[in-house]
Each structure stands twice: as C-alpha cells, then as structure tokens.
Amino acid sequence: MSKKTKDGSGRPRQRRDGLVVEQLPQETLVYDLERHKAHCLGVVAAAVWEACDGKRSMAEIAASAGRRAGQTVPLDAVWLSLRRLSRARLLATPVALPAARVGTSRREWLKKAAALGGLSVLSITAPTAAQAATCTTQTTCTGLQNRFCTGAPCCTTGPNPAPPGTICKKVGNQNMCSCAP
C-alpha cells in the first residue's frame, strides 16, 4: 500500500500562503486569496488540516486530529479529509491515494463520509462585485418589450448567462430588449 503525497514525502503539509482563516465553534472557514474560493471545513476535516505539518505520518495525523476534534478519527476519515482538502487546494502538495483506495467509487466515499461525520469541505467561488449586485437575466431581458428595458447589468451567472459588461437595453429599432455593451 502506498501512502505517499505527490512530492514523495508521504507526510502531507497544509497550505498557509494566500489564505485567510477564521475559526467558528465547530467549523473552520478558509478564504483562498489566489482563487477567490471560500471553504467551510467540518470539525474533523479542519482537525486533519491543522495536523498536516509535513512531519506527521498518517497514523500521527489521525491521533492528532482525534485529540483536536475530541473524537476518534479513523484512518479512513483522514484519507477522506485529505482527498477533499487536496481537491480544495488547501494542501501544499496534492495527496495521492494509496493503491488500495484508488478504485473506491465516489458513492463509496460519500457513504463513508456520511458515516464518519465532520468531514465536509464545502466550497464556493466568491462573487465579483458585479456578480453580487442586482442584475437582469438574459432570458428576462430578451423577453421584455423595448420600452421596458431595465437598464440594469445583465446576469453573467446562472442559466443563459450574458457576456460580462452588458446591460439590458434597447438596441437599434428592435422591438425586444437585448443584453448589449
């Protein structure tokens, strides 16, 4: 069974650079300043993350995380957490799964995670100022007669996103509004 990280050390290390970390009673929030992603780590995932100092082995991470989380953290939970932390790019080097676990399906991982609890790593992409503001969907805009054009920015996310920097306006002599620059 291989338990090596991709740098070959086998001892995962948490990433610290470019992150803002806030502690909540049962969760840890991490904001990635490079990717503009925010992550909410469950209690076990956070404890595993904190334990990844680049020196501890998997068994030592499990023991340390268990003390921090106040509950037993089995090796399966460590692997599940590392997999999720790695995907969220919160480890300095990605973690390679051991050969015995590579074939595990996503469904099986989810089952295990649900059984163990506290392993969630929920992520969102932080919106730009324009994305967080009021907007008109392109579908709505193009369905409006031209005397009702909103003049609001068109939504650049969701179904049928409009090109960035467009507003819902009358274009030429068209009867209906358009999302246009």
Binding site: C40, A129, A132, A133, T136, N146, R147, G151, K169
Partner: protein, 212 residues
C-alpha cells in the same frame, strides 16, 4: 447625431470618468444605468458598512435577512412579509455595520409581473411601514423560489450561513478578511435556515413565527 436619412437621432450618454457606461436613445434607460451605477458605487465604497444582496424586514425588534441573487424571489417574499405586518428595510441590500446591525436601504420594491416587467411599489402600498433605526439580525433565511415547492427548511450551521452571505456580498473578493471577520460573530449567534419555497405567504408566516 445624423442618421443615414439626415434625421437627427439624439443619444443620452453616460460616463464614469473616461469609461462610457451607456449610449442610448431612451432617457429612462440612461437614468436606470445611472441609478444602478451609483448604488453599486455606494455598496462598494461605503466605509464601515457591508452590503449584502438580500431582502430585509423588521419584526419584533429583529431583522430577518433573506440573501439571494437576482430573480431568487426576494422581493416577492419581502412583499408577503410586509403584508403580514413586518416593517420594510430593503428588497435589495442588507446593510450591516460592524456591530452586526442592519440599516435600512428602503428603495421602492421592484416587483415583477407575469411578463417579468418590473414595477416600483412603495411599501405602504403593500400595507407595510418603513423601518428607521438599525436592528440586530434575528434570522437569516435562504429561501429560493421554486414553483410548487413546499417550504421545508433545514438549519444551516454558522459556517454554511457565512458562505451563503459571502456569496451575496458585494466586496467579497476585494475585502474578504474584513467581510469574514464582520460576519463571524453574527452567524455564530443567529439561527439560519435554507430551503426552496413555493408560495411566499406560507414562507412568510413561518419566518415570522420562527423569529418570534
């Protein structure tokens, strides 16, 4: 400006510094763009205030904050809450101060009809009153409209609540550290719920009862 036929077409032009915001023959469009631009500028630059895209009403001295993107049904839910007796704070922004209180941003509600045409409606027309003073947040409710859905909310953890608020915060990218620090204490003490809602009236009644 001269057209091909020689007829004069008059355009309304709006600039922000050297950047052209709009060039249109429709005056109301130019004014709408101006209003949107000014609102956005205030939301991005207001010192000591955090602007979250959300509907807000007051009830028994507490604020109910309904964060969500455009077209999630915030204004409709706010209208139903006003009809049930809540006071109006905003259908667009929850304006938070460093103490975690919400201030009013009481522009007229923008309610869309079946054709998706927005009409501006004063809260008094819906039987509501305007809130004046700031209120502590009593509840965060993420309630997205889904035709035919029944409101069966789940409780959100503080961390997930913070993510929901962050994903609707104007300065989430430009000031993430300040935003997270400002929201942290609030989400730790405020009950939060998330679900899909059908009729606004049913959800409004639930929210008012839950916030107490």
């Amino acid at each position: 400006m001269g057209g091909a036929s020689g007829a004069v077409r008059r355009f309304h032009l709006l600039y922000a510094d050297a950047r052209r915001l709009v060039r249109t023959t429709e005056r109301h469009e130019a004014l709408a763009v101006l209003e949107n631009h000014l609102t956005q500028a205030v939301a991005e630059m207001a010192p000591q205030r955090l602007f979250i895209h959300a509907g807000v009403v007051g009830w028994n001295g507490k604020a109910i904050v309904v964060p969500g993107p455009s077209h999630a049904g915030k204004s409709t839910l706010v209208a139903a809450l006003l009809a049930a007796g809540a006071t109006y704070y905003s259908d667009e922004y929850a304006v938070l101060d460093p103490r975690g209180r919400v201030h009013a941003f009481p522009r007229p509600l923008q309610l869309r009809d079946a054709r998706e045409v927005a009409a501006r409606v004063e809260p008094e027309e819906l039987g509501g009153r305007r809130g004046l003073g700031p209120l502590p947040v009593g509840m965060v409710a993420v309630a997205r409209y889904d035709a035919g859905a029944r409101w069966r909310p789940v409780r959100l953890t503080p961390g997930r609540t913070l993510l929901e608020l962050l994903s609707n915060t104007i300065v989430a990218r430009s000031q993430p550290e300040a935003v997270m620090a400002m929201l942290r204490s609030m989400v730790a003490r405020v009950p939060s719920f998330k679900g899909r809602r059908g009729e606004a009236k049913e959800t409004a009644a639930w929210l008012l009862e839950a916030v107490g």
